[in-house]
Symmetry: C2
Subunit: 347 residues, 2 copies
């Protein structure tokens, strides 16, 4: 089959790779229908995160189950499923608590011996713990299928940020980052009942989506000016619930500075760089809580799925470019150059 | 009157200073009965925190109200009161929410124009918001009065750590730090129903108090060995609720490493040093929450007071040396050399 492979910084290729097969009785093989490129895929692409040359890429997909191992009971051939960005066994203590990202049998797509999401098919370990079945009829509704694809990562990650920020009905929220996760953070905050949502972003094509997703205020400034603008919008005190959806020193600094004393930051931007930008003294003096981390999206899917199916929320606008598998290298380039927000891959 | 003044690193003196007087109608003047020396007082003493030469020291006291301003209604001359380590107006939004340490009229003892806790008397701004009245009869019970003194800081701070760590009935808790705050963290965790309390400390005189306060396990190791020991006690996974009561890079590192994935750290050790020791990637990957900060002890006093008065908890053993005002410089030295855990000042 064909799948994407990263060989070096800015060198992602579509190649022939071995077809996935059932190796363990808990495996499933899923034929990919839709996949996409994530902001975190860009870290390796830019040479800013470690990777093995020859590593498979991508970690978000929706597909049709092709074959299941002897012990798999939760799905069978022909089922439409969403594949979260981490596989998990579904039965360990962490999975039982909902922290599927800490599953001791869990793992990330693209690690040694595993497939990636950007390919024609993939072997899914612990299929019963990992996969979530979707209504079969969704397969014929492209808009809906695209929306459902976000359950594999960005929608659940945005939701994790909103939960970490402590969003409740009536809360004022700020979202740092206008990438797909930040925009899904806006949508998730709105869904949880936030009354006022301040989105920080300077690309009108993105902040327009933020507004569509429920943002009530847009702050286009950066750095100190952004902090001042947010404080001006909030009587000088800042925002009690902040979603940090970037992960750089600058964005974390901004998140801390715009948080109201006693507020919470839901951190879902993967931290990058040795300088974390975190002023612990400021965090401490103002009793700011830092919560969040790698989102256990598998846990959130059953919670978010009904609202996506019923159209209560529609995250599909985060995709602004569609490519076939052959177009994936160009898709990386488009996201790297910020000419695309998030690339959908139609397999 | 006489009060302590810091002139330079390791140069704390008892001097004649102006008697406090009512300056604003919301002030009270309190004659100090008991005061004490705090671990955080040592940072300036050791030259590791900024201070003005000539600054007054100390921020924990219990005393008798001597005079009140025209607008004070909550206490009157002759009342026995506890003075929290921050004054606060009691009426602003932050105070209403319980975050008295962020009160916009609030302030710290020893800052310019204010008295310190280590002296014969002090002027208390916003007396109605700041002071909490105690039963008059407690004044004649030295053990009880000593226990009540901890409400001004260390007991409330330990409680804040336990709250930040998310301690609930049945929780397993670890406490990093065997100073007075750490020990009060043990006591507070026990009070909140923790089932298992692992205290990290290597001074038997201190860990004996931890055991008396409810610690079920003592870990005397440090660094990597301490992490291993705690993980061994908890099936390899670490502790879901950790109280960080030191504030150094090393202690924060230890706290993160012993926290179970998905757990919370209640940070109450004032952060010191530019290297925070915080590995944000580890915190992020394991979904560890950092909560806490400067403890709003004023808010906690009404909650903790009944249990202290009824003897349900007795934090008084954190004091192991008593001096008069003249003995304060020697008290600093004893705490600096770790021959004393916490020094009580009988004024």
């Amino acid at each position: 089959m064909r799948a994407t492979v990263i060989h070096a910084s800015r060198d992602v290729r579509v190649e022939e790779v071995p077809d996935p097969v059932i190796r363990r009785p808990t495996d499933a093989v899923v034929r990919v229908v839709l996949s996409c490129i994530c902001g975190t895929d860009l870290w390796a692409y830019r040479g800013l995160a470690d990777f093995r040359s020859g590593q498979r890429t991508g970690h978000e997909s929706i597909g049709i189950v092709e074959e299941v191992g002897a012990e798999v009971v939760g799905c069978s051939a022909g089922d439409l499923v969403v594949v979260p960005f981490v596989w998990s066994d579904g039965v360990c203590d962490y999975c039982a608590e909902g922290l599927t990202t800490s599953c001791e049998q869990g793992g990330f797509w693209g690690t040694k011996g595993s497939d990636g999401g950007q390919g024609e098919a993939l072997r899914v370990p612990y299929a019963d713990g990992t996969l979530v079945r979707l209504p079969r009829e969704a397969a014929s509704d492209r808009r809906l299928l695209t929306a459902l694809l976000t359950l594999s990562d960005v929608l659940g990650t945005g939701h994790h940020g909103a939960v970490g920020a402590g969003v409740r009905p009536g809360t004022t929220v700020a979202v740092v980052g206008d990438g797909a996760v930040g925009l899904c953070g806006v949508l998730a905050a709105k869904r949880l009942g936030a009354e006022r949502i301040i989105a920080l972003g300077r690309h009108p094509s993105r902040t327009d989506i933020a507004t569509r997703f429920g943002a009530t205020d847009i702050v286009a400034e950066r750095g100190e000016a952004a902090v001042e603008a947010v404080r001006e919008l909030t009587g000088g005190r800042g925002v009690p619930a902040v979603i940090e959806a970037v992960g750089t020193a600058q964005s974390l600094w901004t998140a801390v500075r715009i948080t109201r004393d006693g507020g919470s930051i839901g951190c879902v931007g993967v931290p990058h760089g040795s300088d974390t930008g975190l002023d612990l003294s400021d965090v401490f003096e103002r009793n700011i809580a830092l919560r969040g981390g790698v989102a256990p999206v598998r846990t959130y899917i059953p919670r978010l799925l009904p609202d996506v199916l019923e159209g209560v929320i529609d995250p599909s606008p985060v995709f602004d470019l569609t490519v076939g598998l052959d177009g994936v290298p160009g898709g990386y380039q488009a996201m790297d150059e910020r000419t695309s927000l998030k690339v959908l891959i139609s397999c």
